[in-house]
């Protein structure tokens, strides 16, 4: 590969690139590899994959456009970026679907070979956008990616029809050159990934190199760019998506709890990757059952939990609906169970591949009867690891189902993660009951399955195979203590209260809510209170407000049921509380109901995460109209 260069190198502190093409064009692969090589190079990265629910929507149509946005930076960043600085469009549909997101002055790199009349028609363009002046405010680079790729792929011996398929590697090569990415890691990755298909490997390698060299030699680009490594905490890093981190968190938690992990799951977007990941790690003693349906998935997990395994079920919205009855049973059985909901747009089938946070109230209340369930939610992709472990801690200690509310954005988004020291992970060891815990009227030692631990109110976990502890449990109401069926009115009321108190009592066993307020608790005029995946956008929006010289506080909930015990004090310490959520205001309802505060919701339900600018705008609106005229900082990283 040529090393001579006559191009300028311009230093950037960050850049947001969006790769867009047909769903079959390999954009997710291209974006992921660009991220991986950037992380490896030492940049901070954050990603936003965006793909259609259809596996292969008609080629060339807007419905079939698949995109992958990556934000790379020389400092720490919190979001995949509000708007792309660079859009790589493999065809007119990809351009049309994404160009509105690119601010004026942005760069468009288009595969000009795909721009013909038929493609314009499919994409809904009346005229060629490259020539009709509609792109005048952008820097447009027209690159014949298909033909150049076919030229080199032919040399690899692949058929012309297949040769065209390597064009995403040409694009990857070109953008790698443009942003001065090292080439070796990508070449090695191609070699590994396509090891079993020599011809494809050769074609992709040639296409990648051709793209890189095209940037180098074509007189098209006046300069290329450098985004230096970020200053990161020393340690070993990996790039991880939320679903992978969650799967690993479950394995680590089972390991730390000395329990075999059992997953009962039915495939559903965007949760299936957890099933895929866990099914790879059988040497950890992980059992995965692809069940016949969502109900069987959770049912089998409950059966496994009864037998002393760590029972887990994973799903998304529609599956949560179906599992509700079984989750209620787990509340009544008081067995540990993890219910992992990778939220997506609803109602019904909704937006399977798009993100939303609209299952909070379902997790809270979506069961008949008084059936409280603890809820935890991760904030970032890598945070899913920690939250999985926390959910397991609560489930096994309190013998209760626990909801984990992740979402499509966290599930598929990736970020660099400084690996924790496995030896420093918390000990989650739990004791099974081993002997009778009560004495009969006639003095015989007996086992009472519902005789609770005084402190945690958890009942004993006695697993089959333990002599002398044979007992029956079920969904019918049980007598406090003995666990025998009881229809006694006062006993029922007592049991309802006991189950509620047990879950409420977990508040004493979780960290206090930390508030990021520069001047100390209550000093800023506005508190932004978030939960789950809005963390990045809120933290970045808060940074932008502060860069204007204004004060704003941010607190982020991981525990949603029960709330941290200081949450009331925190929200009451502020005149105004803003609660941004990717729903119509679910947390804000809970906060208002619980604490009688005048919290205001900010909602967005477009299937995409909040942008930092939207949070900034909402905070400024709350701080007063005059704050809008404060000077926005030139380029505050989001």
């Amino acid at each position: 590969m040529s090393t001579a260069t006559h191009h300028e190198t311009t230093e950037l502190d960050r850049v947001v690139i969006r790769f867009a093409g047909d769903s079959g064009d390999g954009m997710q692969l291209t974006g992921s590899q660009f991220t991986a090589v950037s992380s490896l190079f030492g940049n901070d990265t954050a990603t936003l994959p965006d793909f259609p629910a259809e596996i292969r929507a008609p080629a060339g149509t807007l419905a079939g456009v698949s995109a992958f946005q990556v934000h790379i930076s020389d400092h720490d960043i919190l979001t995949p970026g509000d708007a792309p600085n660079v859009l790589v469009a493999m065809n007119p549909a990809a351009l049309r679907a994404n160009v509105a997101a690119v601010p004026a002055g942005g760069t468009l790199i288009v595969n000009v070979d795909a721009f013909d009349d038929r493609a314009f028609e499919k994409a809904g363009y009346a005229a060629n956008p490259l020539t009709d002046g509609s792109l005048a405010s952008f820097k447009v680079y027209e690159v014949p990616m298909t033909s150049l790729t076919m030229e080199v792929a032919k040399e690899a011996g692949v058929k012309p029809r297949d040769a065209e398929r390597s064009k995403n590697f040409f694009a990857l090569g070109l953008v790698s050159w443009l942003y001065s990415r090292p080439v070796e890691p990508t070449l090695q990755w191609i070699e590994k990934r396509f090891a079993t298909a020599a011809m494809v490997l050769d074609a992709n390698t040639r296409a990648f190199k051709a793209g890189y060299n095209f940037g180098e030699t074509a007189e098209l680009f006046e300069s290329h760019y450098q985004v230096r490594p970020a200053v990161q905490e020393p340690g070993v890093y990996t790039n991880v998506t939320g679903n992978t981190a969650l799967a690993w968190g479950l394995i680590a938690a089972a390991h730390q709890a000395h329990l075999p992990l059992f997953l009962g799951s039915y495939p559903i977007t965007p949760a299936s990757d957890i099933l895929h990941e866990l099914s790879k790690h059988k040497h950890f003693g992980v059992r995965t059952l692809q069940a016949e349906d969502e109900i069987a998935g959770v049912g089998a997990a409950i059966g496994a939990a009864f037998g002393g395994s760590l029972g887990v079920t994973t799903t998304s919205g529609p599956g949560i609906d179906l599992k509700s009855e079984a989750v209620g049973m787990a509340v009544s059985l008081e067995l540990p169970l993890l219910v992992i909901d990778i939220q997506r747009g609803g109602p019904s089938t909704g937006l399977p591949t798009k993100t939303e946070q609209s299952d909070l109230l379902h997790a809270m209340f979506g069961r008949h009867g008084e059936a409280p369930v603890p809820i935890v939610a991760p904030m970032t992709p890598s945070h899913c690891f920690e939250v999985a472990m926390e959910a397991v801690r609560i489930a096994v200690k309190y013998r209760t189902p626990v909801f984990v509310l992740s979402d499509g954005y966290l599930a598929n988004g990736a970020e660099p993660w400084r690996l924790p020291d496995p030896d420093a992970l918390p000990d989650l060891h739990v004791e099974f009951a081993a002997e009778p815990n009560h004495t009969d009227a006639d003095g015989t030692p007996v086992f009472w399955p519902y005789l609770r631990d005084e402190q945690t109110l958890a009942r004993p976990w006695a697993v089959p195979g333990t002599p002398g502890l044979e007992h029956r449990i079920g969904g019918l109401e049980k007598a406090d203590g003995s666990g025998n069926i009881s229809y006694d009115p006062v006993n029922h009321e007592n049991m309802v209260h006991l189950r509620a108190r047990k879950v409420a009592g977990i508040a004493a066993d979780i960290p206090l809510l930390e508030v990021d307020d520069t001047g100390g608790l209550g000093s800023a005029p506005v508190l932004v209170l978030g939960w789950g995946s809005t963390y990045g956008a809120i933290a970045a929006g808060v940074r932008r407000v502060r860069a204007r010289g204004l004060a704003v506080a941010h607190a982020h909930l991981v525990h949603l049921n029960p709330f941290p015990r200081n949450l009331g004090d925190v929200v009451r310490a502020y005149d105004r509380v803003l609660v941004p959520e990717a729903n119509l205001g679910q947390l804000v309802k809970l906060v208002r109901a619980e604490f009688l505060v005048d919290a205001t919701g900010l909602s967005k339900v477009q299937g995409v995460p909040f942008r930092a600018a939207e949070i900034e705008e909402a905070v400024l609106g709350m701080l007063g109209p005059e704050t809008r005229t404060t000077e926005a900082a030139e380029d505050v990283a989001s």
Binding site: I251, H283, G285, G299, P467, G468, G474
Partner: protein, 341 residues
């Protein structure tokens, strides 16, 4: 060395202290008694025995056993039992279910448990009616059944549970009835000893909402001429004088014939080990309903790998190939880089 001797037990040891609350005269009592009397002879331990049920009258049975048990939710017992059985191959897992529980709300779980061949014994109490909800028709009720929910007669074609199980790739399928303790115990024992899922349909009388549903074939006076015992390796023959038998006609259909007319050598030999389930399926449909001669006994008993064992073998093989799981290796498996201090 641990004591591996199975303690000697009696029916009393397998009976819980809970009062049995079925209607007086219910067929469930005789099934419960047959089971409690059989368990001491099965060579199993109480602490390793688990009864899992769904919802319905039959589903109360686990409360009456002094073993481990779970009264779960409607239709889901096979799913719960699957999770338990595959994670705890050391346990004896029984599923107690009814015609509504297993064939209506839980039909999906039943067929998938059968095709997977999970190590469990499923006892389906078939009384052709909904008892616990007070008398609506069930998926095994005869067409035209007049009940509270079908005052003008039911429209649905009923399921034949044995046919359904055979169609769902079951490896062990049997039918028995609540009037014959010895036959029930024999079927339960064989289903229990079978490796994989043992499925037993029990004709059970609901004396309150569907009394006498099976009387025309199980009544003491009529039984000999109306129940066709299937015995492996024997000609299929029945009747008070063994005067009837089952033959296959030139069109491939099974029919009942008088032995005197067709000759003993024309009778069909019962082969429960036959891999091809077609003949068992035909036998399961010999009677149009429990009002004409009906085969009972083991329809099918074949070997196929058990699901939990196969699952656990994959774990062992992974462990042998890759060594025990190591968290540090796992976390680094996606490729890492180091930021120096």
């Amino acid at each position: 060395m641990t004591d591996t001797t199975i303690p000697v037990t009696t029916r009393k040891d397998w009976t819980s202290d809970q009062e049995v609350r079925w209607c007086p005269g219910c067929g469930d009592y005789s099934i419960l008694a047959a089971l409690q009397m059989l368990l001491p002879d099965l060579g199993v331990r109480r602490e390793n025995t688990v009864f899992v049920s769904g919802i319905g009258c039959a589903a109360r049975l686990p409360y009456y056993m002094s073993t481990y048990g779970m009264h779960s939710i409607h239709g889901r017992a096979p799913a719960v039992a699957t999770g338990l059985a595959v994670t705890r191959p050391d346990l004896d897992v029984w599923v107690i279910t009814g015609d509504g529980d297993a064939l209506s709300i839980g039909g999906n779980h039943l067929i998938h448990a059968l095709r997977r061949n999970v190590n469990m014994t499923i006892l389906l109490f078939n009384n052709q009616i909904y008892g616990l909800t007070k008398g609506q028709y069930s998926p095994t009720s005869e067409q035209g059944k007049v009940t509270k929910s079908t005052p003008f007669g039911s429209l649905d074609t009923p399921f034949n549970p044995v046919s359904l199980a055979l169609g769902a790739e079951a490896t062990f399928v049997a039918r028995t009835h609540d009037m014959d303790r010895k036959h029930m115990q024999e079927m339960f024992r064989r289903a229990h000893d079978h490796k994989g899922t043992g499925f037993v349909e029990i004709y059970q009388n609901c004396n309150v909402f569907n009394d006498g549903a099976f009387e025309r074939i199980t009544g003491r006076d009529v039984r000999a001429d109306n129940l066709i015992p299937l015995v492996h390796g024997e000609p299929i023959r029945f009747g008070s004088e063994q005067q009837y038998g089952v033959v296959m006609g030139p069109d491939g259909r099974l029919r009942i014939a008088e032995v005197a007319e067709v000759g003993e050598e024309a009778l069909l030999l019962h082969d429960e080990r036959r891999d091809e389930p077609g003949l068992a399926f035909q036998l399961s449909r010999l009677a149009r309903g429990p009002f004409e001669p009906t085969p009972i006994g083991v329809f099918r008993d074949v070997d196929r790998p058990e699901y939990g064992e196969a699952m656990n073998r994959q774990l062992l093989e992974a462990n042998e190939r890759r060594g025990p799981g190591d968290l540090a290796t796992l976390l680094g498996s996606g490729g890492t880089w180091t930021v120096e201090g």
